[in-house]
Symmetry: C2
């Protein structure tokens, strides 16, 4: 990935809030999403800049409002669009006057799903998560033999992916205690999963695999993703075909897609532990080894209803990092997903799987943090948690930092658990 003038840390914007040290959206970021205002019911393509949203069509940068179409741009067109945005939003730009009219205060608009998600695949590339969860089920054989050869993934449900801020009801399902018949009840082991979501840019045609060398040309960018899970439903239903109702009641995605171009300064070598098998050739490339990983700091915050009502801020319950947690890279996921000829389309979502770090306090789910519920932890205000309670709000945040570069952030991916229906 090329680091160019759009990443210059000295760049400032005429949108003053974008120059604040703590904004997620300085002019070096420029993530894409969809927004609408009370006055216009239709979704429009927006770019976050400080505490504002730039309407891309009103700014004259597209002639349509179809985010999926924009995501399908060729890489050189995407880079040209980024340069136009960077040029137009920088301090002293000739566009300032014209683009003022295309700005909306983020606090006044509704942010939706960033695009239409046709198909959603969830991977399982968090190796520490796979090992810890595997240990709960199979103490002597935590990682299955295919794990270091195959980027394990499965299909998820697209219709229940919700934009950040949309609450959901605690799901019901079949629960089975060890010595009792199954029964229908609200889940008692509701969990979050800390993930990132990779959005497909250009698709491919059926029967035409994407080689790893060009895999990143088919990636548009990355958002935060929470794959809510009902662990008790999952334990009873998941064999032999994998999780189903334990996952498809709701997933939450953050509103802004941080582009691969914006992430260029934060690339890292892919580290494979000594002794691990070399990836098969279709999953291996020089570029992928050198800079396939992406350094994204991740954090999970929990705020119970009691904390909210008592004015106690959300509590950080875990910190992790995409690069430390992931055994496979984004490029490897694209190459693997299409090696059988499977067709990807613009706007498709690839979840990473739970991104737990190597240490127990870096776990990306309560299942791991509380060891299957056996070790509850305390919250400020005196409550304890093993799994999520009604009224709990979980917020994922993410950011990229590197010496000599401006910090960029992902915004928030959050939702609150509502009580189940009767």
């Amino acid at each position: 990935m090329t680091i160019d003038a759009t990443h210059d840390p000295a760049l400032q914007s005429w949108v003053e809030s974008a120059n604040s040290a703590d904004t997620d959206f300085p002019v070096q970021n420029l993530p894409f999403g969809r927004f609408r205002s009370a006055a216009h019911e239709e979704w429009r393509i927006g770019v976050a800049i400080g505490d504002q949203v730039l309407d891309l069509r009103a700014a004259g940068l597209t002639d349509h409002a179809d985010m999926n179409q924009l995501m399908g741009l060729a890489p050189n067109e995407r880079r040209a669009l980024r340069r136009s945005l960077s040029d137009g939003l920088r301090r002293g730009s000739a566009q300032e006057k014209a683009w003022q009219a295309a700005l909306f205060a983020a606090s006044t608009v509704e942010l939706g799903l960033p695009c239409r998600i046709g198909d959603y695949t969830d991977f399982y590339i968090g190796i520490h998560h796979a090992a810890t969860v595997g240990k709960l089920f199979r103490p002597d054989n935590p990682l299955l033999p295919n794990y270091k050869w195959v980027p394990i993934g499965y299909h998820g449900r697209a219709s229940t992916i919700l934009p950040s801020g949309h609450p959901f009801m605690r799901p019901q399902g079949q629960l089975k205690a060890a010595d009792a018949a199954p029964r229908l009840a609200a889940t008692q082991r509701l969990d979050f999963e800390l993930e990132v979501g990779l959005f497909v840019g250009r698709g491919n045609r059926l029967g035409e695999p994407i080689p790893i060398a060009s895999a990143e040309e088919h990636l548009f960018g990355i958002a935060l993703f929470n794959d809510w899970s009902a662990r008790d439903v999952q334990a009873w239903e998941y064999q032999p075909l994998g999780p189903f109702l334990s996952k498809n009641f709701a997933s939450t995605v953050s509103p802004w897609i941080v582009t691969m171009e914006a992430l260029a300064p934060y690339r890292r070598p892919l580290v494979r532990p000594e002794g691990d098998p070399q990836p098969l050739p279709y999953l291996d490339s020089e570029a992928n080894r050198h800079a396939g990983a992406i350094d994204i700091e991740l954090e999970v915050r929990l705020q119970s209803r009691l904390m909210r009502e008592s004015g106690i801020p959300a509590q950080c319950i875990s910190r992790s990092n995409f690069a430390d947690a992931a055994y496979w890279t984004a490029a490897q996921l694209i190459a693997h997903h299409t090696v059988n000829g499977c067709a990807l389309a613009s706007g498709d979502l690839l979840g990473s799987g739970t991104l737990s770090g190597p240490h127990p306090e870096q776990a990306g789910s309560l299942l791991e943090l509380t060891q299957g519920g056996k070790q509850p932890f305390g919250l400020p205000g005196g409550e304890v948690r093993s799994f999520l309670e009604d009224g709990d709000n979980v917020t994922l945040i993410g950011s990229c930092s590197r010496a000599g570069f401006r910090r960029i952030g992902f915004g928030r991916c959050e939702a609150t658990v509502e009580p189940s229906w009767r």
Copy 2:
């Protein structure tokens, strides 16, 4: 389900081919699909009648061409539409003259996917298939403990569902021999799966389960479905999250959706073997026990390239029946899929899973017919098959018969295997 005058076996149509004894599409059937002609590139809603297709909009029965919208009609509106079609197409109808201009010879039009498929779920309700396949993997424990409690299902990929007649290339994937490292190669164990596809009519809102009592109001109808599978890829990749690349390279669906109304005469009691657990209340209803099953005769035909080139007709390699093969009913699948609040949408597809009958020769896959490839069978012309070869064409057909009623059919669900890419 109500049997009414539209099922009267004495009804004849002014479309003479619909009165032929061997048509799948007499006036008692009236299945829906999408078609287009060389003159009009856009898909239109059609109804099959004999060897003709009636353009629903041209006949004045809708004011749009959106099949998904039509599928979302309320049940009473759907029944009214069926009555209008039946009245207009019957011999002596006043519509004959006007509707002549809305008829297209089926042989001159292209039949597409019957609707936009948003989400696709594949179930696993063929109990004989589950037991036989389970035995290959776990000889002493073929059916897992959840099987008779949970209608096992998982998500599939919607983007690679192809209309009947569309060939696909043999996929590649990671293959792993017992004593060797995995390698990338074209699958050597390509298989079909004989399924039916249930199409969702009206959807439901997130967090609002569909009770079994009204589940069938949310079903539009049934088509034939072939869930092509690469068994060697599947064996290596499927743990712990289920099949992925072994399935998502292609699935084939037949062009005509036979409506639940058309299927009313062919309903059957649901038979649960003595000693099996009673379904949980959310999966049980009087109506479901009395008439939840549907008597659909199914057949699989295979024709190799050599047979085609030698003029040898396709060979029947298996016969089965939806009602005999399925442990769970369509209504139970809808109730189960939404019991956690999951939102279904018009046009969503629920695959039944492989519908093998109770006897070995009724198997719905080669995996079962050849016992994992160990017992190849012969084809007319002298070839043998354990799994599919390049050039093989697999055709699924289905029909419903009952004394005192007109036989109705499903048309064909077929595709030919092309060689893999290099």
